[in-house]
């Protein structure tokens, strides 16, 4: 099972969860703004070096969302992952953003 939040900066000082996905046994459940998940886009699976499509493997797709959302404007955060053999480090620090004056 894996659960991933999508978070956006609220005022340049904090992040707010606007959508979530939880995948278990191949079944995905979305909460919040479902449309924020670009399920039509393949992501890069770092452990295997291959592309993964949502319809082929939603769990692995969700686990690698950080390879498709790379800015500080819309940030995927893994909140739960029961994968017994995850790669050593999957999280990353996104590009930073500052609010416009």
């Amino acid at each position: 099972m894996i659960a991933v939040d999508l978070r956006i900066p609220t005022d340049g000082h904090d992040y707010q969860t606007v959508a979530s996905i939880q995948v278990q046994d191949g079944h995905a459940e979305f909460t919040g703004r479902r449309e924020l998940f670009a399920t039509d886009v393949a992501v890069f699976d770092e452990p295997t070096g291959t592309r993964v499509r949502y319809e082929d493997n939603p769990e692995r797709w969700a686990r690698n969302l950080h390879t498709a959302y790379r800015t500080g404007q819309l940030v995927p955060v893994i909140t739960a992952d029961t994968d017994p053999s995850p790669p050593p480090q999957r999280s990353r620090r996104p590009a930073a953003t500052i609010p416009e004056r």
Binding site: R33, V41, H66, G72, P87, P88, R90, S91, I98, E100
Partner: protein, 202 residues
């Protein structure tokens, strides 16, 4: 701003650079530079392109090269065809900019929009070379299927200025030579064909 809510543990160099390698960027330090180069190009070309790309500068983050950009206000995601139709003028302009700068992963999550504005984010994997992988190019695809790929007068003028002034020279100071050459070549091909380039044609 506070750090991103994800753990900040560093990844191994191999893991960190693997995604860049996948997109054909063997020098990962170039990724934040390309973020900045995209903004500098947009700013130099002027409106309406400059309205689509937020200010971006280089910053050292945890002793690694990074980019810092202004926060784009407005909603994000789901920039589906109906939304593109509503913002057709902005979408067409974005497609022109993408055709010129060759981003390799322009999906809906890298498009921010509001009721009357569009913002393009994430230009790290851009300035691609011919033959490089293209994961998504939503705006270019829309312009070919729902809009008009023919260059506008402003777009032709912008490309001409890029090639005939020192605009390109400024970018050559920060881009790899082959990527700057490819940028100029795309501009020439667009002018010669009088239309934007198709998805993945770098």
């Amino acid at each position: 701003m506070s750090p991103a809510p994800s753990p900040s543990t560093s990844r191994s160099p191999a893991s960190r650079y693997r995604l860049a390698d996948d997109y054909g960027h063997s020098a990962p330090d170039q990724v934040p530079i390309q973020e900045v180069a995209a903004w500098r190009l947009a700013a130099a070309l002027g409106e309406p392109v400059s309205r689509l790309v937020c200010v971006c500068v280089l910053r050292s983050i945890d002793d690694e090269p990074g980019s810092l950009s202004l926060l784009v206000s407005g909603a994000t995601g789901s920039y589906e065809d109906s939304r593109m139709d509503t913002l057709a003028r902005h979408t067409s302009t974005g497609a022109f900019f993408d055709s010129l700068t060759a981003p390799q992963d322009r999906h809906s999550g890298n498009l921010l929009y509001s009721a009357d504005a569009l913002g393009l984010i994430d230009h790290g994997f851009t300035f691609a070379l011919p033959g490089h992988y293209c994961n998504a190019s939503h705006l270019v695809q829309w312009r070919f299927t729902n809009g008009d790929p023919t260059l506008t007068t402003w777009e032709r003028d912008a490309l001409t200025r890029l090639l005939r002034t020192d605009l390109l020279g400024g970018l050559r100071a920060i881009l790899h030579t082959d990527r700057a050459d490819a940028l100029a070549d795309r501009a020439r091909r667009m002018l010669a064909s009088n239309q934007i380039l198709r998805m993945g044609v770098f």
